[in-house]
Symmetry: C2
Subunit: 350 residues, 2 copies
DNA sequence: TTGTATGCGTTATCAA
DNA sequence: TTGATAACGCATACAA
């Protein structure tokens, strides 16, 4: 072992930063008591005299003692940490979701380890492995759904988890999702009632349950109102603004232009606005647009964006609360399947 | 100790979920070797026969062994975890920043513990305490700057940290920021060159360095071009779209309306667009707008938003990389102060 | 009321 | 090549 030397701010050992931290042992020594007396004093346990307690607390304060959550976690076999795995951290939908999760976790005094998958199966598997290796107490995940494999691994690990926003039909797991089919239906119905007959859907990747179900709702509405289905108006795989932009460009330039677009998300809808702006298409006169998620971004387009709501932040909070209740035994351990209601918010874009 | 019982999916002990995890000891027993032979085999250490190694690996595979990062962290006094503390997780600027951080951390095989402060000092202090208690190896933070107190505590802890996007004048810390003064200058200069003389600034809270410096740049440009300063055109405290919306409403309705607005961020600028839309103000004819950060959201407004760039994702990546290099001794431990260049992207809004 | 001893899962030292 | 043992920081059963 090479000797410890100081170099600028930090201590380095073998070229690695070494942080000197105050331990319980040092506090105990400083207060002149045993290590466990110190432990009891700091944790408000009974059987410690006021005088001793005061001395310990003073010493802890003076030395800047901070309990090591790691050691505690190892002792309790509990980390008070949640693994959170989402598709894309920078996507407004997910960042609002994460915000809700983090807020609720904090209320329960839990930490959040965040990972993004970019909707890639390998990344998803890695993220799950990392979360499990970190010994998280529970996992909240929006599965890529490219395969059930990753989630089966997660299931087999025995670590409690809840799916967010998406679910599997043939896998019995906890989940919190939106009522996507209903959402697809009311968005499409609204467009039909506004007089549209050529309604395109810029859908997400169809292996994702929310996309599949919104598509089902879309089809349901078309059928119910006796409209023909045109496969040329069904676009799949849109997740980002860029995706929406490209898809809208090709639709508008295409042979049979739609008069209305139902977008997978407000984010995708923003891409539609961008395309319409560039091509000089007037919304809603020449093209009506409905988004999904009712995010605040829909308020700043011109005209403002009609959207199917549903607050992602609320979904995150709900999922986190359910998971934490599950972890603390406050929630009966039957399968929790929650479908949050959706509603249509009409604004200028339709 | 009440007995362990199964209830639905998980094991519960004393009403708490108990996850059964495979330990090294069990792998060793299954392979018929000692615990440290197993450890050496799994970690590709020398001095272990091929035959033994194969047996251990097989056992680990079969039992589904996953190394416990916690125990390893305790042993090494290193968690391979970064604490990331930002103002608002759902703010597009921060979510892109976090995306960059997470990506770089992953490349270094580090995890990220994310916390938001909502720009509140108490929350910031708590977040720092939590990160330190989690024994993170380093911290990336956008300080609220409501006081130096929190950062001083962080400094005293000895845990390496880098400020992102903001910095203190009288605190010598590592930081990675944008060239905010230059950004403020070129945004204002651009508006002046477009013929504007009544230029409002919807600035962030002035205790935040980026806001203070953009303001300095704004003033510098006004002075350089011989324009008068009107305090009524200087609005402070705008961070969200909602803030931008309200400020823009009051400015437009006010006694001496500006002909141009320089917004603290694209996010704030979106609020300006919302206000303009509602009031029927035509951008850029009646009101020119420049944002900051050059996010993709500026592409979907009508007209598209001119903005001062600077990629937040790149800033996050840079800060994370510097911190990780610092932690691994790959970077000399002198104070790292980085000012990322900015440039103006002109679009339809000016 | 206080202290001693043990274990959580892992890795490192050292002896066999 | 392998194994017994100690240590990381903390909490607790148990003894004093």
């Amino acid at each position: 072992m090479t000797p410890i030397f100081k170099k600028g701010y930090y201590f380095y050992v073998d070229g690695n930063v070494h942080i000197k931290r105050v331990t319980l042992r040092e506090v105990a020594k400083a207060a002149g008591v045993s290590i466990n007396t110190a432990s009891r004093a700091l944790n408000d346990k009974p059987a410690v005299s006021p005088y001793t307690k005061a001395r310990v607390l003073e010493a802890a304060q003076r030395l800047g003692y901070r309990p090591n959550r790691l050691a505690r976690a190892l002792r309790y076999n509990k980390t008070r940490t949640l693994g959170v795995i989402v598709g894309d951290i920078a996507n407004p939908y997910f960042s609002m979701l994460v915000r809700g999760v983090e807020q609720t976790a904090r209320e329960f005094d839990y930490s959040v380890i965040l990972q993004g998958t970019d909707e890639d199966l390998e990344r998803e598997k890695e993220a799950i492995e990392v979360a499990l290796a970190e010994q998280v107490d529970g996992i909240l995940i929006t599965p890529t759904q490219r395969s059930e494999e990753a989630i089966r691994t997660l299931f087999d690990s025995g670590t409690p988890f809840i799916l967010m926003s998406r679910h599997f039909h043939d896998l019995e797991t906890h989940y919190v999702i939106m009522d996507d089919q209903r959402g697809g239906f009311i968005a499409t119905e609204h467009l039909i009632q506004r007089g549209h007959e050529r309604i395109a859907i810029l859908n997400g990747p169809i292996h994702i349950s929310s996309a599949a179900e919104r598509y089902a709702g879309y089809m349901e509405a078309l059928q119910q109102y006796g409209l023909d289905v045109d496969d040329g108006l069904v676009i799949k795989g849109c997740l980002t603004m860029e995706d929406g932009y490209r898809a809208a460009l090709s639709l508008i330039d295409g042979p049979n232009r739609p008069t209305a677009i139902f977008a997978f998300s407000d984010f995708v809808a923003l891409g539609v606005f961008r395309a319409a702006n560039e091509l000089g298409i007037v919304i809603p006169d020449e093209l009506a647009v409905v988004g999904f998620d009712n995010t605040i971004f829909g308020l700043c387009t011109r005209p403002p964006l009609s959207s199917v709501g549903g607050s992602p932040e609320e979904l995150g909070k709900t999922a986190a609360r359910f998971l934490l209740e599950l972890l603390t035994g406050k929630r009966p351990n039957t399968v929790t399947r929650v479908k949050l209601p959706v509603y249509l918010v009409q604004r200028g874009s339709t």
